[in-house]
Amino acid sequence: MKKLGIMPRTYLAAVFVILYAPIFYLIYYSFNSGGGMSHFESFTLEHYQAVFQDTRLLIIVLNTVIIALLSALLSTTIGVIGALAIYFMKNKSARQTVLSLNNILIVSPDVIIGASFLILFTLIGVKLGFASVLISHIAFSIPIVVIMVLPKLLEMSTTLIDAALDLGASRKDVLTRVILPYIKPGIFAGFFLALTYSLDDFAVTFFVTGNGFSTLSVEIYSMARTGITLTINALSGLIFLITMVLVLGYYIIGNKAKSPQGVKK
């Protein structure tokens, strides 16, 4: 693989600068002793102290992360199964229909998803709280996993499976030894997008959560009326830092272990 020229490098650099600009802007003002996100007065760490003193906020952060991880994991599992089911469907128009149905949750505005899930939960009698939020997050993340996994399945040539079967591989072997390794990048892509969806969601969570349970986005949105405090900036800074350390650490360890895949997509 040849090295990147100067133009592509500049281009990528520009993309990264824009992607990270708002985040660094948030972090920059988290050190501001003044009240808001303008007019930097002087350097302070008081907002970071405030984060650690606020147990309620910490509980909410933990809730958010737990929900994100578990919902991404479960939705990836179900989504992969769904993608396989769609892949193996014989009837083309049925396939197309299922796929379209699959995408409905991606296009539906959050308010509708939230409102209809709320109706659903009250009908079934699920208690609003951790469980209802987790179930909803799993539900709205499944389609994105399917969308990420399916193209990988489609590009896999069917002769691969035929060959494996001809060689006497059992169905289980075909799945675990042939198909899953092949679509792995798609699975990881789906997982990370599911994580993203979960962390970003406000409207659905707001509808389906009960008292005693809240996530960070819900908290931030309800602060909007009176202004968001810099404590939240500090918190985001910390989350960003931890994420970066984890990702880089994982990548370095993964590379040292000579994993052929490196970091997973």
Partner: protein, 357 residues
């Protein structure tokens, strides 16, 4: 395959660990068990120190949760599955909640401090005899402006918002009744008008304001005004107070034609599981000293007359936020116009926004 399984395993392990930490934290803060009440309020709409004080005095833990719109809050309570003990709807929402039978009637014998509320703010049309609600904060709708960014314009009249010198300067609030209300007020019609003729006239007039409108936004306006990014805004008095406390150049005025008088009110929803605790909390919040401290923290106007002497005179004598009775004559409280008419207002407002460039 092994990669996939081990990744999944790590995720489960991490989540388990986090769940455990969370459990520990919740126990440490005593959020679990004990005598608790759940207060459902707007974000940052109470002094957190007062919550601690209440917990110490009464031995009741307070779980404080927040919402960002009356409609969202009502939806949660209506669907059930929640156990909020106290919440704070705006006046029209009180009426809607009452119609849907979501509120418990109040027993005043358990709220002796209710006598501190100014009689002017009691027995209002949205809740006759205060059967279900007690006012928590109140205010007006008016114009916040930054004189240092303007060329000497004044805003004694709503008409001034149509002035050509404000081209692309005006920020409106994203709420149909307030914006159409400007037009209604300037034409001398009632803010509770249900006449299609009047509404048509009002929105036709409103459309001519289009070129002046810079944006139609929500609470973000506070920051924009404080940072000198915007010079004129239609806003609620409470928000204006926030702006003024951060930026000395900003002023707030209620134009002479009249304005809306709004209230946020304490109520006990039917979902309450600790009604006694809710009464104790309400009575506590109405204590003059507590109400004074709360009003100074939040910055909105308190209806608690007994609290006023405990507050800074500079605040309580400010006519902009505590207008005298004469000024109040032109104020109108919103009535619940019914969903049908509300729909008409919103459709007209949508049309107005679509015409903006």
């Amino acid at each position: 395959m092994r990669g996939l399984i081990s990744s999944a395993f790590v995720i489960i392990l991490v989540s388990g660990l986090l769940l455990f930490t969370n459990y520990q934290l919740e126990h440490k803060t005593g959020r679990v068990g004990k005598d608790t009440i759940t207060v459902y309020n707007w974000g940052e709409y109470i002094d957190p120190d007062l919550l601690k004080q209440f917990e110490e005095e009464e031995g009741i833990k307070v779980i404080y949760e927040t919402f960002d719109s009356n409609e969202g809050m009502m939806g949660k309570i209506e669907q059930g599955g929640t156990a909020y003990d106290v919440t704070v709807p705006s006046e029209y929402a009180v009426q809607m909640m009452e119609e849907k039978d979501l509120l418990l009637p109040l027993d005043f014998s358990k709220i002796p401090n209710v006598t501190h509320i100014d009689p002017y703010f009691m027995n209002l049309p949205f809740d006759p005899d205060n059967k279900y609600s007690i006012p928590y904060f109140w205010g007006t709708v008016g114009i916040a402006y930054n004189a240092s960014l303007l060329e000497g314009q004044t805003f004694e009249s709503w008409e001034s918002l149509w002035d050509a010198s404000l081209r692309q300067k005006l920020i409106l609030v994203d709420s149909a009744r307030e914006v159409i209300g400007v037009s209604l007020n300037s034409l001398g019609y009632s803010l509770n008008s249900t006449s299609l003729q009047e509404l048509k006239e009002a929105t036709d007039k409103l459309e001519t304001m289009g070129p002046n409108v810079k944006a139609v936004i929500g609470d973000e306006v506070t920051q924009l005004m404080i940072n000198n990014e915007a010079s004129v805004a239609l806003t609620w008095s409470g928000q204006a107070a926030d702006m003024i406390s951060e930026n000395d150049d900003i002023n707030y005025i209620v134009p002479e034609e009249g304005s809306n008088l709004w209230f946020d009110n304490i109520v006990i929803p039917r979902t309450s599981t600790n009604v006694e605790g809710a009464y104790k909390f309400i009575n506590f919040m109405l204590d003059p000293k507590v109400a004074a401290q709360n009003a100074e923290y939040v910055g909105y106007s308190t209806p608690n007359t007994a609290a006023l002497p405990f507050m800074d005179e500079e605040i309580t004598e400010d006519e902009r936020f505590y207008p005298d009775e004469k000024a109040r004559e032109n104020f109108e409280v919103y009535e619940n116009l019914g969903l049908e008419t509300l729909g008409v207002y919103n459709e007209l407002f949508l049309k107005f926004k679509m015409g903006l460039r």
